[in-house]
């Protein structure tokens, strides 16, 4: 997928003016935060679980090589195969080779952010294989040739009329000739159309929320059942996972799912949590004949031992973006790559480079809501600051910012001089705003006064007045 994070600022500008998007984003704010809060209120142990989850994931990261090897051994022991991919290109090729080995023409897909990360759909299409997204949200955006705007609600940027248009344009051949805007009817339409795809697919590709080292199991956490139909009907099941998805045991995964679903949709548990280990057993009556796990690195291994290691604890619950005022204002596409919101602002610079994604960690007020809700207690603002430090060190920050900051620091480090300059500044601003008590236009501060007034200072600085007061007292 093409990275457009470089133009974040103008992307955001466009998003703010997109009426349909703004309408759709209201659903996000009205839904996720309240549902999360209600679910957490019902589980008194939630904060304890957060600590346990954080510690657990830290333990995994400290021993990630060990758990990866154990996971691999267990998958193989049960007749499955594990493929290691250093980067997106390798991962795509692995999937293509598997598909070709069974002469696949159609693959069904459960929701997978790794698939987005490696640009799998475009690649398969280019090689004559038809990928069919089966998660309702993913299916909608596939019809519209879009990418997800949210990691668990990929079509959250759309309204029902847009879904109706997409279905109306594509479902005619399946006998749905009337345009319908009713969500229930739209879902039934998708259910019937996609059922045929499930039944005729040669390969099913899912993601993996977790990989369990103890048992060589991949886990998907879903509500629709599409992920299950994707993996039990075709002959081949491929699970795409990034290396940090490792979890030691079934007990450990239980701890994390308790955190994940409540933080994500506010459900106590999703409808389906599915644990897949190897291909079907000889005596089984259904299930895939082949089971492949693709383990993707794509820059993650380099995060271990560094200042971004904590980010590898992320379980992709989306709470950070659901509570982010910036995400809430512009949605996910403006971020310009696969992962939006606070977690994306930390991860994207790592995965696509700080030169391309440098704006993302800057586009935050550090309000801290993301860290407050993150079930894995990831210090997201701190890590965005680390990116800013790297940019500053590499002189990537805009010249005007550097200049302004430099000038300000020059005075701030010289208190005597600073007091004089502050006194002059306060006096000047006071004069500019004396009539109304505020300033409506200020050269060099257009970013401020384009949108709001600048309240005028009261007159003399505190330091000036304090000095006078102390003088009078003594």
């Amino acid at each position: 997928m093409q990275v457009t994070s470089q133009t974040f600022k103008s992307n955001a500008s466009v998003a703010l003016r997109d009426a349909a998007l703004q309408r759709a984003l209201k659903n996000l704010k009205a839904g996720f935060p309240g549902k999360r809060a209600a679910a957490i209120a019902k589980l008194p142990e939630f904060d304890q679980l957060r600590d346990a989850g954080r510690d657990l994931k830290n333990h995994v990261l400290e021993h990630l090589d060990f758990y990866l090897e154990r996971f691999e051994a267990k998958v193989i022991e049960q007749g499955g195969q594990v493929h290691w991919a250093r980067d997106a290109a390798e991962a795509r090729q692995i999937v293509l080779d598997i598909c070709r080995s069974v002469a696949a023409r159609r693959v069904t897909k459960g929701k997978s952010m790794i698939s987005e990360e490696i640009g799998l759909n475009e690649f398969l299409e280019a090689h004559g294989i038809q990928p069919v997204e089966t998660d309702l949200g993913e299916y909608i955006i596939q019809l519209r040739h879009e990418h997800p705007s949210h990691i668990i609600a990929p079509a959250i940027h759309l309204n029902r009329d847009q879904v109706a248009d997409a279905f109306h344009a594509h479902h005619g051949p399946y006998g749905f000739t009337e345009r319908n805007e009713n969500p229930r009817a739209l879902m039934n339409e998708a259910r019937q159309v996609l059922r045929q795809q499930f039944l005729s697919a040669d390969v099913g590709i899912t993601g993996a929320n977790f990989c369990i080292a103890e048992t060589g199991t991949t886990v998907i956490v879903t509500n629709e059942g599409n992920g299950d139909l994707t993996q039990i009907l075709p002959r081949v099941h491929i699970a795409l996972a990034s290396i940090e998805k490792m979890v030691p045991t079934l007990e450990d995964v239980s701890t994390l799912t308790r955190l994940l679903t409540r933080s994500a949709t506010g459900q106590e548990i999703t409808v389906y949590t599915t644990f897949s280990s190897g291909p079907r057993r000889v005596e089984d009556l259904d299930g895939p004949e082949q089971f492949h796990v693709v383990l993707l690195d794509n820059g993650r291994s380099g995060m271990l031992g560094g200042e971004f290691q904590d980010m590898l604890r992320c379980i992709r619950c989306s709470a950070c973006m659901n509570h982010c005022p910036v995400y809430g204002a512009i949605g996910g596409h403006a971020y310009g790559w696969v992962y939006p919101g606070p977690m994306g602002s930390v991860l994207t610079p790592q995965l696509v480079g700080i030169d391309a994604a440098g704006q993302l960690p800057n586009a935050s007020t550090f309000c801290g809501r993301c860290e407050e809700v993150c079930p894995m207690r990831i210090p997201l603002p701190k890590m965005m600051r680390h990116w800013r430090e790297r940019e500053f060190e590499r002189h990537l920050s805009p010249a005007a910012v550097r200049f302004g900051l430099g000038a300000w620091a020059f005075f701030a480090k010289r208190p005597r001089l600073y007091r004089i300059v502050a006194g002059v500044g306060a006096w000047l601003l006071r004069r500019l705003g004396s009539r109304k008590g505020r300033i409506e236009r200020l050269p060099l501060a257009g970013g401020w006064t384009a949108w709001r007034d600048l309240p005028a200072p009261q007159g003399r600085t505190f330091q000036q007045q304090w000095a006078a007061r102390q003088g009078a007292r003594s």
């Binding site: 955001a12 703010l16 005022p325 910036v326 204002a329 512009i330 800057n362 586009a363 935050s364 007020t365 550090f366 309000c367 801290g368 809501r369 860290e371 407050e372 800013r388 430090e389 940019e391 500053f392 920050s397 910012v401 900051l405 430099g406 300000w408 620091a409 005075f411 701030a412 480090k413 208190p415 007091r419 502050a422 306060a426 601003l429 004396s434 009539r435 109304k436 008590g437 505020r438 501060a445 257009g446 970013g447 401020w448 384009a450 949108w451 709001r452 007034d453 600048l454 309240p455 005028a456 200072p457 009261q458 003399r460 600085t461 505190f462 330091q463 007045q465 304090w466 102390q470 007292r473």
Partner: protein, 259 residues
């Protein structure tokens, strides 16, 4: 008036005024002094203070941030307490200074010592000094915005409300989403003005819907932002720092109002 004489039994407080209060709203500084003195403290204002360094720190400029932190540490480390009428600057000193000196144990120790005795003004009054009530009157309905750093870095939520409840004739009306950022964010508001504007517009809408006559908060940055927006929209809502109300220093014009 003998505040400048040191009384050994009284806590000696160094007031970190903050650069915004210094330039834009000295009244907040004087209100802080009054509240602290009323609560039995001796207050001093070191002249060698400028800014806590947060703009540099949040812009990735660690070197300048460290220099400024050293300046603040040197100027304030001899006090019993350091009090800041801002959750944001207070949070920088309390939560971030120690990390600034990772790999520099000598300064880190000094930063940690300073951190331990640094407090935001309102929470210092309630949590450290045990102040339960103030003598003040403010005949208006007010709504209170929870500034992000104070709320999330320092846990300031109930303290201002508890003290406001003791102000005579004051009627607190909570706005919706009082915990959501106003969009100020220091340099954010000039780096991403459109985004900042969207956030402050939503905040202004919630403030207006609360039908309060006065907006209060504990951070001047947020207050300047919200006041500027409300005034641009022509809303007749007064905006003040909470210290002014608690100290009863409300006979001067509100933020952004003419004399």
């Amino acid at each position: 008036m003998s505040a400048t004489l040191s009384c050994p039994h009284k806590p000696r407080v160094g007031l970190f005024v903050t650069c915004l209060v210094d330039v834009f709203r000295p009244t907040v500084g004087f209100a802080a002094v009054k509240l602290l003195e009323d609560a039995g403290c001796t207050v001093e204002v070191p002249a060698a203070q400028t800014c806590c360094g947060q703009p540099a720190y949040n812009s990735g400029d660690r070197a300048d941030a460290r220099d400024l932190a050293r300046q603040v540490i040197a100027a304030f480390e001899d006090f019993d307490y350091v009090v800041v009428p801002s959750g944001s600057c207070g949070g920088t000193i309390k939560r971030h200074y120690p990390h600034l000196f990772d790999g520099d144990p000598a300064w880190q120790t000094r930063a940690e010592r300073l951190s331990a005795k640094t407090f935001e003004l309102v929470s210092f009054l309630t949590d450290v000094l045990g102040v339960e009530r103030v003598i003040a009157r403010y005949p208006d309905t007010v709504t209170y915005h929870d500034s992000c750093s104070g709320l999330r870095e320092l846990g300031i939520k109930s303290q201002p409300r508890r003290l406001l409840a003791t102000v005579a004739d004051l009627d607190l009306r909570e706005m919706a989403e009082s915990e959501v950022c106003c969009g100020f964010g220091g340099t954010f508001c000039v780096k991403y003005p459109e985004l900042s504007n969207r956030m402050v517009s939503e905040k202004a809408a919630h403030i207006q819907t609360s039908e309060a006559g006065t907006l209060l908060a504990g951070d001047l940055g947020c207050l300047l932002n919200m006041a500027g927006k409300l005034q641009r929209e022509g809303a007749a809502i007064k905006v003040r720092h909470i210290a002014e109300v608690l100290a009863g220093m409300t006979d001067i014009p509100a933020i952004g109002e003419p004399d």
